[in-house]
Symmetry: C2
Subunit: 282 residues, 2 copies
């Protein structure tokens, strides 16, 4: 098991990983974040043993595992800096919401010791002060190995997440991006657009003063970190845009039924959606 | 204060109203629902004193207030039957999510004793078994009187809801439909369409097996009652469709930013939405 672990990006997910990892395997934890306050805060909260604003400072710590927990847009440049800094045996993984092509780009830089991962957990909150030790317990963790992945590195990352209570599932990087493009990225895009739409509709009247009727629940995810989501949308743009097209089609179908007053077909449309949503366990 | 109150439509809202009303003013409660099981269940749960499947049975009960709590599409036909059944002094109100033209149609049938109302409360659950005594306490209740509304009827309905703990706000019927078309009806349409879209995207793979990343919270309101929402969409179609058009514009703007990879503008778009959503108190 890993004795020295580093996390790059000390936010909600990075901080929660650090807490869970320390508890699970009792390792030393080094954190890197470009914001010195995040590093300081995490040390004060007992999340990190050591920290720095520069990945180059990992040299002295000599980690056996580095986990990237920054917005995905920074992954390739971080990987290049890590390649110059880390020992060749150090395993590198991540918790990014996008896999697909990005996985192959990171392999190109880091080789088979890179293992892509994505914990299906998180909230609309951001910042290490919201870190939770049990955030990943009982939640899915998607591992996206390729033919090039070093089997030992894969097994070690897998066992680490299992020891933190996560339910590890292996998946092709492209399939990952299709699935989460549809069930997570596309709905987030819709939620952001919905809040913008209410803003546009608030001409003379502040509509945000009337947040009843499910609006708050519905748009909670639109409070998520904009830089994180910008990177997700740009790096999984193909799947996000495809899913949004299907959504637009479904919405136009509904608009048509309302416009033409098609009572029967409208009841059926809403009934199918309602039954499907209710079928999901809470 | 009212001593004999009837509610037509014994579901989540009708049942919660009955419970709150009895507690607030200690009145006798008669419930009407076309489903005999709902009436039976409500009597067993101690929500109603009496009940029937026919509004005509209200004649013997001689209520001083009748509250419509069925899907809004049934309001005008119910109002015609009530006009033949009730004493001319009986006040009629409702808890429907649509006002606007419907208010004038009901006034046309019932006269100034009709007072439109809409409690901003409720959940995606349906059925009298989910009724809650405190559902309206501390929540907004929108009253939509017109020039024709009998001032005494208005005051009595207002005081009843205040005694149940609701925060009563008066509003023009058309303004009501604009506001709630935007902040409630349109988001519900979006949520229903989103669940349909995920269904369409689930070709060979059941995407509903991956409900992480906020999808459940985001689509919770799509589990709402289809008949209730069919009626809301059809009776407030003008405002719902207008709001959906604005939403489509906002979404297309976002799609364009993603497609063209406009990093700066995308960050700004998401940042504005995120900050706005975070500004709402929980």
């Amino acid at each position: 098991m890993f004795e020295r672990v580093a996390v790059v990006g000390v936010g909600l997910i990075g901080g929660s990983f650090a807490l869970a990892c320390r508890e699970a395997v009792g390792c030393q934890l080094f954190g890197v974040d470009k914001d010195p306050n995040a590093v300081q805060k995490a040390k004060e909260l007992g999340i990190l043993h050591e920290g720095s604003t520069q990945v180059e400072d990992l040299k002295g710590f000599n980690p056996q595992l580095v986990v990237l927990a920054t917005p995905v847009g920074s992954f390739t440049s971080l990987a290049r800096r890590l390649r110059e800094t880390l020992s060749p045996e150090c395993v590198v993984s991540d918790v990014g919401s996008v896999k697909g092509r990005l996985v192959y780009e990171l392999e190109e830089i880091l080789g088979g010791r890179y293992v892509g991962g994505h914990p299906i957990a998180g909230t609309e909150k951001a910042g290490v002060q919201h870190a939770e030790r049990g955030l990943f317990s009982g939640r899915r963790f998607i591992l996206t190995p390729t033919q090039r992945t070093d089997p030992r590195a894969k097994t070690e990352v897998k066992e680490l997440w299992q020891s933190m209570g996560a339910l590890v599932e292996e998946m092709d990087p492209e399939l990952h991006d299709f699935i989460f493009g549809a069930v997570s990225h596309m709905p987030h895009a819709v939620a952001f657009a919905l809040v913008r739409a209410i803003e546009y509709l608030s001409n003379s009247l502040d509509l945000f003063k009337y947040p009843g009727g499910g609006f708050k629940d519905f748009t909670r995810i639109a409070g998520s970190d904009p830089v994180m989501w910008r990177d997700i949308f740009l790096h999984n743009s193909e799947q996000v845009l495809k899913s949004l097209q299907v959504f637009e089609g479904a919405l136009r179908e509904l608009q048509g039924l309302i416009e033409r007053g098609e009572k029967e077909a409208l009841t059926q449309y809403l009934g199918l959606a309602s039954a499907r949503r209710r079928s999901l366990s809470e």
